[in-house]
Amino acid sequence: MTMFRKPRVMTATQTHYCPGCTHGIIHRLVGEAIDTLGIEGRSVGVAPVGCSVLAYNYFNLDMTIAAHGRAPAVATGLKRANPDSIVFTYQGDGDLASIGMAEAVHAAARGENITIIFVNNAVYGMTGGQMAPTSLPGQITQTSPSGRDSALCGFPVKVCEMLAQLDGPAYIARVAANSPKNVLAAKKAIERAFRNQIEGKGFSLVEVLSSCPTNWGMSPKDALGWIDSAMIPYYPLGVYKDTSRKGIE
């Protein structure tokens, strides 16, 4: 009996991600959710601009690429035009929390029945490691060479905390892809975010804390450790909103 193998919905293509980058894990979790829920034929994905711009190469799904940050608007159009589709976006922190903040917040506020996988690795990966809206105070990046100075460029955006304040979303959770235990929790959250859409519950977003060994200048192992030691304290894991829990709705 096979216990672990690549999800059926994923293509045989090797990913272009750097060694140890956890995008690959998060792709797999999306694939596993689609496999488990049996929605391969109905699913339509929206790739962002950023490292995961080529995500469409890795899934046997109908997909498009949105302009930078516009994935939630594109997903809104796809879902409204074809409500039977299961529509998801896969977006990084620059895409969702900086240039696409308006689209993300308003899709959430409208309670669009879509699923957003938000990958937060605290840096602009594809362009070579610039400061992101989620870069931590003091974090050294190409555009914050002395460390992110909050007096100069403010503070990181806590997307889950912010969106959880809105009435629109059904499910907002933050998970991490840095240990087998956390990956299992992430798997449950991502599956939940897709299941919510099938059940018509509305906007679901899962933020996944992810590593960028290349631009953080760390080994893959140390990068996972940095998620534990630096990112999780600033971005606590957990379910920030869940309207299907008793006492909330």
């Binding site: 391969e40 034929g41 109905r42 699913s43 339509v44 929206v46 711009v53 080529l54 469409y56 899934f59 046997n60 799904l61 109908d62 997909m63 498009t64 690429i65 949105a66 302009a67 516009r70 608007a73 594109v74 997903a75 809104t76 159009g77 796809l78 879902k79 409204r80 035009a81 074809n82 039977d84 589709s85 299961i86 308006a102 689209e103 917040v105 308003h106």
Partner: protein
């Protein structure tokens, strides 16, 4: 539908979109096109369609992108400053070969400008209006009736050529009320095997993208797109010739300027001046050949436009500067009067003589 109905141009456009089978409208309020959204907010639910007020012009056009990806007829509308915001979406729609209908009911610019009518987005519309090499089919209605008929045509052309059809109206045509006859539309039914409907496990996946990292592949995409544009130029160029049979002075005007010019040409004819008008109905493709032919006959062209000679450039290109082209214009929201245009015709006659 029975006889003509008195409608605002913007409302005629909105109803025509519904008649053309459009069920998805995404927009953001801006004067002077707000009636389009207001009309469709009521109308779309009646026909099982979707009206969605977006958070921005940018989001609205990307929602349109999404609905078009799903293979559906969809539209967005705005006015000049809002269309600048949509330029990103126009580029992505073109790069992804998606059909779309985009409406610009122009107001005066640049910047916030004013809310009065203008035609100063001519270059933006006819050159694509975003980054990269691309074109939109640009239709220029000159009446409430044409707001309807050109919108229906626009949806068909967008589907046929997999590109954006833009209705380039102006505040006057959008706001004025006229009788409109809404003939039952027979929308072209074009298969969209590329649409993102989910594979349903029955076909290979579809990818809608404007990303091509191989220069050779991207060049190929651009070239095949321009081959399609060439077909549109060949088949879809449209214009109206008014009193051109023996004309010596040719006015070129579209939209509200054409209405004014028509009166001026008639007045000139009454004075015995052989004036005529070529009214582009498609601004892209531009009626280049018609103007080239006219240049063999007329002594002078007048570009009558509510902009600073934007269309004049296209006339000069069309006639290869074989005849002088004079600008007759107002900008900033000021509209030309027939008397002003007639005066320009008189002056042209003097110069020609």
């Amino acid at each position: 539908m029975t006889g003509p109905i008195l409608m605002k141009g913007n409302e005629a456009l909105a109803e025509a979109a519904v008649q053309a089978g459009c069920r998805y409208y995404f927009g953001y309020p801006i004067t002077p096109q707000t009636e389009i959204g207001a009309y469709l907010a009521k109308r779309m639910p009646e026909v099982g369609g979707v009206f969605l007020q977006a958070e921005s012009e940018v989001a609205a056009i990307h929602m349109l992108y999404g609905a078009s990806c799903a293979g559906k007829r969809a539209m967005t509308s705005s006015s000049s400053p809002g269309v600048s915001l949509k330029s990103e979406g126009l580029s992505y729609l073109a790069g992804s070969d998606l059909p779309a209908l985009v409406v610009n009911v122009q107001r005066a610019g640049p910047g916030l400008g004013g809310i009065q009518p203008s035609q100063s987005d001519y270059m933006q519309a006819t050159r694509g209006g975003g980054h990269g090499d691309f074109r939109n089919i640009v239709l220029a209605p000159a009446s409430a009736q044409e707001m309807a008929t050109l919108t229906m045509r626009g949806f068909d052309l967008a589907d046929k050529y997999r590109m954006t059809a833009m209705i380039l109206a102006d505040g006057t045509v959008g706001q004025m009320m006229e009788p409109v006859l809404l003939e039952p539309a027979q929308p072209l039914n074009i298969e969209k095997p590329w649409a993102l409907t989910g594979t349903q496990g029955k076909r290979e996946k579809n990818i809608v993208t404007s990303l091509y990292l191989s220069p050779a592949e991207l060049e190929g995409k651009n070239l095949s797109r321009f081959a399609r544009y060439a077909l549109a130029e060949q088949n879809e160029t449209d214009f109206e010739a008014f009193c051109m049979d023996d004309a010596e002075i040719c006015l070129v005007a579209y939209g509200i300027s054409a209405r004014v010019s028509r009166s001026a040409v008639s007045a000139a004819r009454e004075k015995g001046i052989r004036a005529g008008m070529i009214r582009p109905i498609t601004l892209w493709p531009f009626p280049t050949e018609a103007l080239r032919q006219a240049a063999k006959q007329v002594k002078q062209f007048l570009s009558v436009e509510l902009s600073m000679g934007q269309m004049l450039t296209d006339i000069e290109l069309a006639v290869r500067c074989a005849r002088p082209v004079t600008l007759v214009s107002h900008v900033g929201g000021v509209i030309l009067t027939p008397e002003e245009v007639l005066h320009a015709i008189d002056h042209a006659v003097e110069v020609s003589a």
